[in-house]
């Protein structure tokens, strides 16, 4: 998403929130709760995890408001906090990729390569968490591979290969037309 709050308004709200104006803080929360929750839903496994990420993100925003200097997009700053919180949760829980998926997708077991013809929402949800994270951050949020690599603690080439593999999987599941 692009930042819905004009920079001047964002600066004013942040200044008021920093000075202890809780109404301004609530306005910030209401402006960004949906995009933060949506990002969290795409980067975590369950709605409950996403809710926790939403809460952790805004607790961090409250603590760190002074670090936003008003020079860049406020959404960009909050989004990075949210992505970090989601990825921290991922690392903390040491989630494992769904290994059987690999065989299922490649058709290695059956020798078949039949498209599942899922819709895009279902296909995205079916991707392993790490691949889904790379796809979402790169294709939707506009992060570069360098930024993703730094955020996820991986190499740039690994981020590129994850994106390529994820799109190959999506192609199989969606069918060649991608008319989801």
């Amino acid at each position: 998403m692009t930042d819905t709050l004009p920079l001047a308004e964002a600066r004013s709200l942040v200044a008021r929130a920093r000075a202890g104006d809780f109404a301004a803080l609530e306005q910030l929360y209401r402006t960004y709760e949906r995009p933060v929750y949506t990002l969290a839903r795409r980067l975590t496994r369950s709605p409950e995890d996403a809710e926790d990420v939403l809460q952790e993100t805004f607790l961090e925003v409250c603590r760190s408001l002074r670090q936003w200097r008003g020079e860049g997009s406020l959404w960009g700053w909050i989004r990075t906090i949210a992505a970090s919180k989601a990825l921290m949760r991922y690392r903390r829980e040491k989630l494992r990729e769904w290994e059987p998926l690999e065989e299922e997708v490649s058709g290695a077991r059956s020798g078949e390569d039949v498209p599942l013809r899922l819709d895009l929402e279902a296909a995205l949800a079916r991707l392993p968490e790490r691949s889904r994270t790379v796809v979402w951050l790169h294709d939707v949020e506009g992060y570069t591979h360098e930024e993703i690599a730094e955020l996820m603690g991986m190499t740039t080439s690994f981020s590129k290969s994850q994106l390529a593999r994820a799109h190959e999987r999506l192609r199989r599941w969606l069918g060649a037309g991608a008319d989801a």
Partner: protein, 195 residues
């Protein structure tokens, strides 16, 4: 078709993102299959971006608000403790260097400290943490509080205190001035709001 092969997913994605090399660029221009795949990748990206957003099922704002209130109370307490520590550092430093310090310096410092402490009492009596502020006022208050924090940090540095007693008196005067400005801002705002 060049090199007898098609572009890989990674090469086509790089091209989609405006980073593709010369080979894949030329190849796609001549290969209908790769051109179609590139188009499909662009479509998938557009469709991903068009997916609906999610609304949080429960309102987490009350939890965030309570945490923000707790955090603000803690910061206020830490701020007060910092000021007391700064005053203690200065008093101790001047107890040690009392004989070396010239009487006018001592008097100037005591006066600056007294002014700062008096202004702080006035400021606190306004209950600044319970006031809602407009955008411009909030910006001014935040700036004054930042500068106040810098002065407090300087006063909390014992080596600086020992090195330049004149500077310490100047810092206390700055502190009194900043508190006075904060009082002005809050009182003005209260007058406008009819508080």
């Amino acid at each position: 078709m060049s090199d007898g092969r098609h572009g890989t997913s990674e090469e086509l994605l790089a091209l989609r993102d405006g980073e593709g090399g010369a080979w894949v660029r030329e190849h796609v221009a001549a290969c209908a299959a790769c051109a179609a795949e590139l188009e499909r990748l662009e479509q998938v990206r557009s469709q991903l971006r068009a997916l609906p957003s999610f609304a949080p099922p429960r309102d987490r704002w009350p939890v965030v608000l309570e945490a923000a209130r707790r955090d603000r109370r803690r910061r206020r307490e830490a701020w007060s403790a910092g000021v007391l520590a700064a005053a203690a550092v200065v008093v101790l430093s001047f107890a040690v260097f009392r004989h070396a310090a010239a009487p006018p310096q001592d008097a100037a410092l005591r006066q600056a400290m007294a002014e700062s402490q008096a202004m702080e009492q006035v400021f606190r009596s306004l209950h600044p943490d319970q006031r809602a502020l407009t955008g411009r006022t909030a910006g001014v208050v935040a700036d004054l509080e930042d500068r106040l924090a810098q002065v407090d940090a300087a006063l909390n540095d014992p080596s600086a205190v020992r090195a330049d007693p004149d500077r310490v008196a100047e810092l206390w005067r700055q502190r009194a001035g900043l508190l006075s400005a904060l009082v002005d801002v809050h009182e003005t705002r209260a007058t406008y709001a009819g508080l």
